[in-house]
């Protein structure tokens, strides 16, 4: 178990190295120039001065050498400054990660249990009335673009009813819990819709398959009630393959958060990376994307550990 975790972690470190190089090169290939961007519209900037600035920032060096310098600094804990915010990138990304973390944690806490319950209900009588209603809901959730749903919800709850704020969550840490929660309700609703649609379909398919398994027949042959058969025997078996789906959907959810954060004006990871790329903030984009990679790697590792925990046939 410990050995497995250690070997997976060392693999993860390797992946992060490779990713950092790839991202560095890719960001280097982006059109636009950070120096020009920095001094945009400044008429006193001569080509000589630009050259000097490039030299100062090391932008005249070949990209491999630049990567090497960056890597050496990063390994010593120096991830550089954000040109957009004029602050160390970690102080920008820390609060952003926390913000997105809250958003995603709330989303998962709602979407996963509801997907399990709705999927299991739908699987009880395939093509029955309940299944059709749940199917309609999940296909609607899959098909509706999340930015559009966001706008509809803003029109309804913020504009017409005036119940919930559409944006403007203060980034200061003294925002009260309730204030923050009120700001999170709409974005979480949208993300749950975004996440739950496909999940319901997966749970339903897995449950239908499990309910026809021999051991479910055995459970019925014991005289257990249908509820016990489903809850105690079927659900747990059906959920094991769901872990992979969940881990994969996490990356998807992360990217979904980008749109949602932009619409609801929340300075989370998605919005921060988006702004960094748009403003040619090399460092911020690079470290932000790396951080996202780390989060996805960790979620995959947790998924594998959850597998071993839920399925006694798997030993690590």
């Amino acid at each position: 178990m410990l050995r497995y975790v250690l070997s997976r972690l060392s693999q993860a470190v390797l992946v992060i190295f490779v990713m950092s190089f790839l991202l560095f090169v890719l960001i280097g290939l982006m059109p636009g120039d950070p120096i020009e961007n920095m001094f945009e519209g400044n008429p006193s900037l001569t080509p000589e001065l630009i050259g000097q600035m490039r030299e100062l920032y090391g932008l005249d060096q070949p990209i491999t050498l630049r990567y090497w310098h960056w890597l050496m600094a990063a390994l010593q804990g120096d991830f550089g400054y954000s040109s957009l915010y004029s602050r160390p990138v970690l102080t920008v990304l820390g609060p952003a990660l926390l913000q997105t973390g809250k958003l995603l944690a709330l989303t998962l806490m709602i979407s996963v249990p509801s997907a399990i319950i709705l999927g299991a209900l739908a699987a009880r009588k395939p093509n029955g009335l309940v299944d059709s209603a749940i199917g309609l809901f999940s296909f609607a959730a899959i098909s509706m673009p999340n930015f559009w749903v966001s706008l509809l919800l803003i029109i309804l709850f913020s504009v017409n009813l005036g119940w919930l704020p559409a944006s403007g969550l203060p980034m200061t840490s003294d925002a009260s819990f309730w204030l923050e929660l009120r700001h999170l309700i709409l974005p979480v609703m949208v993300l749950v819709m975004f996440h739950v649609g496909p999940l319901i379909r997966y749970v339903r398919a897995a449950m239908i398959e499990t309910l026809s398994a021999d051991f479910v027949r055995t459970a019925r042959a014991k005289g257990l009630s249908e509820g016990t058969v489903i809850a105690r025997h079927a659900v747990r078996n059906a959920l094991i393959p769901m872990i992979t789906v969940l881990a994969l959907s996490f990356g998807h959810l992360f990217s979904g958060a980008l749109v949602i954060e932009t619409i609801f004006g929340m300075l989370g990871m998605g919005k921060t990376i988006y702004d960094a790329v748009g403003n040619i903030d090399f460092n911020l984009a690079l470290v932000g994307l790396l951080l996202a990679t780390v989060v996805v790697l960790i979620s995959n590792l947790l998924a594998d550990l959850a597998y071993a925990y839920l399925d006694p046939r798997i030993t690590l």
Binding site: A213, D214, R220, G223, L224, H233, L310
Partner: protein
């Protein structure tokens, strides 16, 4: 010992001791499924009964309706299936009873063991808990005392170090052990009837013999009745008092086991017995019944297309089940009293 191990060449089994009161009466049982081409009748007009302490072997090839017959006794015919006729168990008709009545019956009065011990157990629950579950449901035992009972049951079915095995998951047990555990689960509440659906088919031959012995032994201890389903006549010869031969959803011959083996009357039963390899005789090729099983239209004898004796009447009308000799029932136009 009332029951002996008897091959077909050894002394016949004693006739069923307890035909006095029959525990199970199946009358005109039908099982059908809705398909796109209309209703498919899987079992038609089946009649049989099982006395207390008696073992009935139901024999027939794959697809003849044996498994659906067993599942109908448990109320577990898959969704879309319809059961008609009468299943009288302990005086009451099970066919139309409520889901609640079925639940209180299953696992307590009638228990079932299945063909595939590999897939019949929940892979993510310990063996002990799976057995204990029956006891908590039907006997209201606490989880802890049900688990202790489960360990005792595992010991009773001959599983070594039952304390450890009860805490194991199904994949940690061999096929034979798993089938023993399934038997322990089935017998947990001392059922009056055990329905065994090909319980030895998926096992090695040596393990098969052990499982058959175990069922015989437990039957002797508890006096339960057994409905044993198999496509293997050799297996059924070892434990059945009475044999019902099924073909294409119908009963074709029903008699005490020794009559079936000594004097098979239906051409299909004769064919089945002829297919058994005889170790005393060397032959180049084993006997095969020509053709394959098909569910045929309602008219005529279903076996007619494969039968060497078939004549016009066989294709025209369905032969009724008649008592050709004392306590020997056959459904064939060519076999008459």
């Amino acid at each position: 010992m009332e029951l002996q191990m008897a091959g077909r060449d050894t002394a016949p089994l004693p006739a069923a001791a307890a035909t006095v009161g029959s525990l199970l009466e199946v009358r005109d049982l039908g099982v059908s499924f809705a398909t796109k081409e209309g209703r498919a009748q899987v079992v038609t007009g089946l009649n049989y009964s099982i006395g207390e302490g008696e073992t009935l072997g139901i024999v027939g090839e794959s697809g003849c309706g044996k498994t659906m017959t067993s599942l109908s006794l448990m109320g577990l015919v898959p969704p879309g299936g319809r059961v008609t006729g009468e299943i009288r168990f302990g005086g009451r008709n099970l066919v139309d009873q409520s889901a609640r009545d079925w639940r209180s019956l299953r696992g307590r009065d009638i228990a079932m063991i299945f063909q595939e011990p590999m897939t019949a157990m929940n892979p993510v629950m310990t063996v002990g808990r799976q057995i204990a579950e029956v006891l908590t449901v039907h006997e209201g035992l606490s989880t802890a005392s049900a688990f202790d009972r489960a360990v005792e049951l595992l010991e009773a079915v001959g599983i070594p170090s039952p304390n450890q095995r009860a805490r194991d998951y199904p994949h940690q047990l061999s096929g034979g052990m798993r089938q023993r555990a399934m038997i322990a689960m089935a017998l947990a509440c001392k059922p009056k009837l055990l329905v065994a659906d090909e319980p030895t088919t998926a096992l090695d031959v040596t393990i098969q013999a052990q499982i058959l012995d175990l069922i015989l032994e437990l039957q002797e201890d508890t006096g339960m009745s057994v409905q044993f389903i198999t496509h293997n006549l050799a297996v059924v010869s070892e434990l059945a008092h009475r044999i019902l031969v099924m073909y294409a959803g119908r009963g074709v011959e029903n008699a005490p086991a020794e009559k079936i083996f000594d004097n098979p009357l239906h051409p299909y039963t004769r064919g089945l017995i002829a297919t058994l390899p005889d170790p005393d005789r060397k032959v180049d090729q084993l006997f095969v019944i020509p053709g394959s099983l098909r569910i045929q239209p309602q008219r005529g004898c279903r076996f007619a297309s494969r039968c060497s004796l078939a004549s016009e009447i066989c294709a025209a009308t369905e032969p009724p089940m008649l008592e050709v000799e004392t306590d020997h029932f056959v459904a064939c136009h060519k076999v008459t009293p």
